[in-house]
Subunit: 331 residues, 2 copies
DNA sequence: CTGTTAGCGCTTTCAT
DNA sequence: ATGAAAGCGCTAACAG
């Protein structure tokens, strides 16, 4: 390992280690001649400051911890990109990791981030209320939640208006010709709950009951649901509308429908939620509720930096408006 | 911030801080009674060890730095997933960041990782030979390169056999009916060079010159190239085969072709490279050269852990075999 | 402007 | 089994 320390270069330069330390932290406090000599030596000797030591001694680490729910999900990746973008312009590094939707993992990750003294944390929580969030508050570290609306009014967050999004979907679906409407939901996440609430608020219940399938979480789950839809709901003969609260799953469903040559949208209309990038590129471009995902990351990052700068500023609470995007998967 | 230190809990427990430290690092060396008391106190007082201090004092950080070229690219995300998977089972954390294909950023990121004393580094380098790699060697930190074949024989890597992949594509394309073949390449990355070499090795040159477009790097670039292909190469009337050395770009090209109602594969056949997940889900499933991307991450991570355990073991050098996948974008 | 000194929180001999 | 003390590399008063 790199064993060069400020002490080594101090000796080489014939100065004290304080001086060397100063050229690192307050260069202007050092005589330009010695400063240059020291800098030169640093370069020559391949000196790399030990961030652990700096951190221990009190310097902010300029590291921001980011915890998302899934890595292989464009939704979260786009958030991370937004975050990364902002952080970089401000010379912060991002430390990205995934909870994989498991609370305990989330807790451990956050704990580890605190333990490694990141200057702030961005979290897309599994639940809006959890030990993780209590930990964050208790630790007194600046943090902003993403894709989640916490009950605690003191907590900063950036989320999308999922109730509104559900309503948009309902209005659109009300306007469609159909014999049945089927709702398909996945992870029991707050955002999903809100979407469903908004949907039920506005959907036209007079057109018969709305069937619901729960726990359909992944692309594969969606794919596997299709045979059930066929046998239980006869979607191949009754003109059906599927509202699937997650694009990723919707893609899986469509994939299987296409494989079985069931015409979309003539026989089955599909409406998703999220507007991930894939939704416009997939086999049959997907009608969906769009969230400006990247903005979510960007705003969250900016607010976090703000929070770090002025810790007692009021909590930042952002609710981004969704938009409805009609594509060819529905009619 | 969390101000509870071992000293605090030592006082509370009426023992010395050494003892507390021991229950952290060598629990078995402590009387089980005191140990339990201390552990209980830690829980009660919400104690979180300071990883910086631990690291400074010599304990490995159990952090692995991972640097990829792009975040919003399933190719690299899948690598990261593979890595994450392995690391987690071994109780290591991953610190993920993106160089965005810029060498300087890559260098800075690696430097910062070393500076924060990660135990090892996984890097998908921009170039097979660079200051970054020299830095890594010099620092003496265990590392494995991904998606790259370094010239230096002492360096461990996991990559795919891109020459072979190019050859596979050429053989397939030789078998296709066509009036012209067009090669489209992007980032001047080693892997791309190898693909092209393999391709030229095997492609049938007797069927006329092969035109080449360079510097087509992103989905958008691919999209924008289509009008040029139309005007310069008249692909709408001459039956054409496009070999695009990157699926992401191929998707962009296809998107625009579809928008212009140019029939794929009847009029234009498209062959990509990478077999990212999208390639099987996109509007017209893409014929492509498949790399077992996730394996690459998994193997790299495993070899890194191995390297960390026995630092003087021989360099690990893996070349994964590609596979050719025919889908509906070509005929 | 520069050197001296005392920590930051934890691990680790070395005694006891 | 436990405590005392030194030290990891760096920063931050405090003197000069």
């Amino acid at each position: 390992m790199n064993k060069v320390t400020i002490m080594d270069i101090a000796k080489a330069a014939g100065v004290s280690k304080s001086t060397v330390s100063r050229v690192l932290s307050r260069p202007d406090m050092v005589n330009s001649k010695t400063r240059n000599r020291v800098l030169e030596l640093m370069k020559q000797m391949d000196y790399i400051p030990n961030q652990l030591a700096q951190g221990l001694a009190g310097t902010p680490t300029r590291n921001i911890g980011v915890v998302i729910d899934e890595l292989s999900n464009f939704f979260f990746i786009e958030i991370a990109e937004g975050v990364d973008w902002v952080l970089n312009t401000q010379n912060y590094s991002m430390q990205l990791s995934s909870s994989r939707w498991v609370e305990e993992r989330e807790f451990l990750l956050v704990r580890s981030l605190i333990s490694s003294r990141v200057d702030g944390i961005l979290l897309a929580p599994v639940l809006p209320e959890s030990p993780t969030i209590r930990l964050l508050k208790h630790a007194g570290i600046p943090f902003v939640l993403m894709n989640c609306i916490p009950e605690d009014e003191e907590i900063s967050y950036v989320s999308c208006d999922n109730v509104k999004g559900g309503e948009l979907a309902a209005h659109y679906i009300n306007s469609l010709e159909k014999e049945q409407t089927i709702l398909i939901t996945g992870f029991e996440h707050q955002s999903m709950g809100d979407r469903v609430d908004g949907f039920y608020n506005c959907v036209d219940h007079s057109k018969g009951d709305i069937k619901r399938y729960r726990g359909v979480k992944t692309f594969e789950d969606g794919y596997d649901l299709v045979p059930i839809l066929l046998s239980r709901d006869e979607i191949e003969r009754k003109k059906s509308v599927l509202f699937i609260t997650n694009d990723n799953v919707a893609l899986g469903v469509m994939e299987h429908l296409v494989a079985l040559s069931i015409p979309i949208p003539e026989q089955v209309s599909v409406v998703g939620y999220d507007n991930i990038r894939l939704s416009s590129l997939c086999r049959i471009p997907l009608t969906t509720v769009s969230q400006s995902i990247r903005d979510m990351g960007r705003i969250a990052a900016m607010e976090l930096l703000d929070l770090m700068a002025s810790p007692d500023s009021k909590p930042k609470r952002h609710l981004l408006a969704p938009e409805f995007v009609v594509r060819s998967s529905s009619v």
